[in-house]
Amino acid sequence: MSENKNEKLKNITEKEDVLLNVKNLQVSFDTYGGEVKAVRGVNFKLDKGETLAVVGESGCGKSVTAQSIMQLIPMPPGRIKSGEVWLDGRDLLKYSDKEMEKVRGKEISMIFQDPMTSLNPTMKVGKQIMEALIKHQNMSKSEAKDKAVEMLKLVGLPNPERRAEQYAHEYSGGMRQRAMIAIALSCNPKLLIADEPTTALDVTIQAQIMDLMADLQKKLDTAIILITHDLGVVADVAKKIAVMYAGVIIEYGTYKDIFYNPKHPYTWGLLLSVPRLDVKKDLRLVPIEGTPPDLIAPPKGCPFAARCENAMKICKEKMPEEIKVNGSEEGEHFARCWLYHDLAPKVDNPVTKRRAKLNE
């Protein structure tokens, strides 16, 4: 009886913890060549204060997914064909442009790959932080100015008073990304979307920025969607990981699921194709042969089938559903792969096999 009650309680709190719920998001771009189906039905949930990593190669739809959440894709040629984006119980896709303005920067913020092109070169950095504060927090100019300096200090810029009076070109790459983070977090948003935030930076600076983001997340309790092509960057910070391929999430799970017990052959490929600094044995890299499909005419079956060693007849015929692949109750781990259909033959998991080999 009491167990039942606990169960109920758990369900309720779980519901309240959900910050973002994306359902069946489909986004297309109309081009001369035809309709590019960039995102083809994406579902995921994000809890408050949690970090979700979206991993995939260029053109897999990870950035388009993120930009659609904030309605930042240019329309036309872009078109959100269907779907729902629930933030704290409100469907953002039903919002008008004007209503979205109140969400952007205040409830959801975004930082981009190239901080030079996302900062305004003609405006002092301090003023760019003040902009959001004046708009969303109704601060006076002098209050906003103080807060801007405080934000620059928070993101670890030495000499924040002087830095606030400088322009973006006077900053180094790492400093610019810190300034972007200061702008993004100035209004204390519930969700921060970071689209390849460290890809343009050197590794030592990348470590600084990732450290800073983790630190600020703890302090401010912001949920983060981290979009990246680099599984290594994700290993440290993500709680949940969504692997995208050709416009769909092909696998979703906790970081442990994805790194230690991945189920989708594409995830296997991603993990086996990168060398590891900490591994001495000279294992040959296993590339994924071929290239991703053309999203103007995506295959009707599994988009990875053409590159998949384990592809069966059905894979080319029909798109697999999201199949739950974990036995335990902790979180959801699912893969879109026919191999986990009841009738499919069992295959060896090359990732767990390699781990065993390395541990020998």
């Binding site: 400093m175 590794v203 990168v274 060398p275 590891r276 600094l277 590339p287 994924i288 290239t291």
Partner: protein, 320 residues
């Protein structure tokens, strides 16, 4: 085995920038490349690794120092002799989009070197081009197409084919995989490794990705602000990094294994790389170095061998 193919001695390449200032992109580097090996050159952006590579194939004229290829000083060659050298030393570039002429077909691109060096003519030439294309994993149907018809990975294969067409024995690969997606990177890296075994090639592999450099290289040189900080075998560099910069660099590399990665202690370097126009006095790393002492601010440490085959440029590293 350890026959030296190329010997670089105190190589310098300076540029004059606006305001009459001097940018010391490469500031006195020395190393040997052995025949049949891969020497990796790593460092962060602006450290001079690409300039070093370009100077070694003489795309840039060196400001000072020597590049000795099989007893010939490359810097002293005249135009005609240089053509002979380029027959042996070729380059693969980073950006497979910018480095292929969009108005030339694959045959033209791969055949250009063959024509310049008068290696094959007519049917022989075409046969050779088909051979090379097949060697790099393309097919003869691709020969009459233009670069825009290919994906990034395939374009890089064309770049490799162009470099290999004149049968060089030394190749400078300048970030050959950085512009490619991870799954495609492995294809190109495996291709480069296989070609090395098959054709007995020697590589200078320039990249910023330490994991990849360690994977492909026999020995690795770490550059910082135009100087080599550490040079040793790739496994030794990972097991026993001596220079504080190498240590920080190693610790910052993300590892795709959460347990290892989360347990790892990171050395987070403060600040940014200084501008190569305004290089600090003494050791170039002293401003960011956690263990710098007075001598580091005054005197620049020389690269010296502290363990067999392990060279490091740091005052604080003592010989055991």
């Amino acid at each position: 085995m350890n026959e030296t193919l190329i010997s670089v001695r105190d190589l310098k390449k300076y540029f004059t920038v606006r305001g009459g200032k001097t940018l010391k992109a490469v500031d006195g580097i020395s190393f040997d490349i052995h025949k049949g090996e891969t020497l990796g050159l790593v460092g962060e952006s602006g450290c001079g690794k690409s300039t070093a590579g370009r100077t070694i194939v003489r795309l840039y004229e060196a400001t000072g120092g020597e590049i000795i290829y099989k007893d010939t000083n490359i810097n002293k060659l005249n135009k005609k002799q240089l053509k002979d050298y380029t027959r042996h030393a070729q380059m693969i570039f980073q950006d497979p989009y910018a480095s292929l002429n969009p108005r030339m077909t694959v045959t033209d691109i791969v055949g250009e070197g063959i024509d310049i060096h008068n290696l094959y003519k007519g049917m022989e030439r075409q046969k050779r081009i088909y051979e090379i294309l097949e060697l790099v994993g393309l097919s003869r149907e691709h020969a009459n197409r233009f670069p825009h018809e290919f994906s990034g990975g395939q374009r890089q294969r064309i770049g490799v084919a162009r470099a290999l067409a004149i049968e060089p024995d030394f190749i400078v690969a300048d970030e050959p995989i950085s512009a490619l997606d991870v799954s495609i990177q492995a294809q190109v890296v495996n291709l480069l490794k296989d070609l090395q075994d098959e054709l007995d090639l020697t590589y200078l592999f320039i990249a910023h990705d330490l994991s990849m450099v360690k994977h492909i290289s026999d020995r690795v040189a770490v550059m910082y602000l135009g100087s080599i900080m550490e040079l040793t075998e790739s496994n030794e560099l990972y097991d026993n990094p001596l220079h504080p910069y190498t240590k920080a660099l190693m610790s910052a590399v993300p590892i795709p294994d959460p347990d290892v990665s989360r347990a790892k202690k990171r050395i987070i370097l403060q600040g940014d790389v200084p501008s190569p126009i305004d290089v600090p006095t003494g050791c170039k790393f002293q401003g960011r170095c956690p263990i710098a002492e007075d001598i580091c601010r005054v005197e620049e440490p020389a690269l010296r061998e502290v363990l067999p085959g392990h060279e490091v440029a740091c005052h604080m590293v003592k010989k055991p």
